[in-house]
Symmetry: C2
Subunit: 140 residues, 2 copies
DNA sequence: TTGATATTGAGACACAGTATCAATATCAAG
DNA sequence: CTTGATATTGATACTGTGTCTCAATATCAA
């Protein structure tokens, strides 16, 4: 299912209502290639003719995350960072502490070990975040 | 070296000064068994006869972290969480999303895979954080 | 004892995010 | 189409976590 469908079914399931604000935000988020945060999205939404209030941007981001349309991917200096992509597979992040650039990676072996550990501790995993800090190749 | 020694040598190295506030905070932190945050420490410090201002608590926490006396271990709802223990080895966390309990674990295989990935990407790792969210055994 | 300077406390400030609430938009039922 | 119930919005006040400022004070070497 595409993200518009996901939003529609989430809205129906919860007895919510379709609004132009949500439609506008979804269209803009779809076009963002990488990561984004609430403030950045807010200014992008209000850059053009469209206009959505700060409160609604935050509310809608939360709604989209609950609907599975976007994912909260990490915290950057106390700021939540999201990314579009219901079809995207899970991945982890490397953050360069010098230039702040973000690199994605995924390692099935690490995932496997995590599952192993959870089994051992009888812990039912619902999600995880792995973040490696360091210095990237071009900053060395 | 114990934490008092670490503080002393860090202070000397940086040309800083010994103060009663720092001593008081170190004594209290030493007695905290698990994790703590700035606000919790602040109220603990000011509960008794001792008194340290909010600003100084935050400043001193930062100083202790730089001196290696405490470690920033994770972020919990936008709040930084620390733990005492210069001798403690690195470990990762499992957080129960129901009861909020925190479990520690460490897995050398995961660490190894992380190093492998960093080598592959020519990324010089300086630190990492792995956090598994889920439901703990007693909350199932 | 003195002088340089690191430190402190109090409070203002910064920032991300949430709560409040009256006005408005949506939508199902008639 | 109109109506009524209610979900949503925008404006703005507020919260929580942490930082900055700056005058007063404590520390320490000379």
């Amino acid at each position: 299912m595409d993200s518009s469908g996901m939003l529609k079914s989430y809205i129906e399931k919860k007895g919510l209502k379709k609004t132009s604000e949500r439609a506008v935000m979804l269209e803009i988020i779809k076009k963002i290639p990488g990561h984004f945060d609430a403030e950045g999205l807010l200014s992008q939404v209000n850059r053009n003719n469209t206009k959505v209030s700060r409160a609604s941007v935050y509310r809608t981001i939360k709604l989209f995350a609950e609907a599975g349309i976007i994912k909260e991917s990490l915290l950057r200096g106390g700021r939540k960072v999201y990314e579009y992509g219901p079809e995207k597979t899970h991945h982890d992040h490397m953050i360069c502490v010098k230039c702040g650039k973000l690199f994605e990676f995924s390692d099935p072996m690490i995932e496997k070990h995590q599952e192993e550990i959870c089994r051992k501790h009888r812990f039912q995993m619902t999600g995880h975040k792995l973040e490696i800090q360091g210095i990237c190749n071009s900053c060395k």
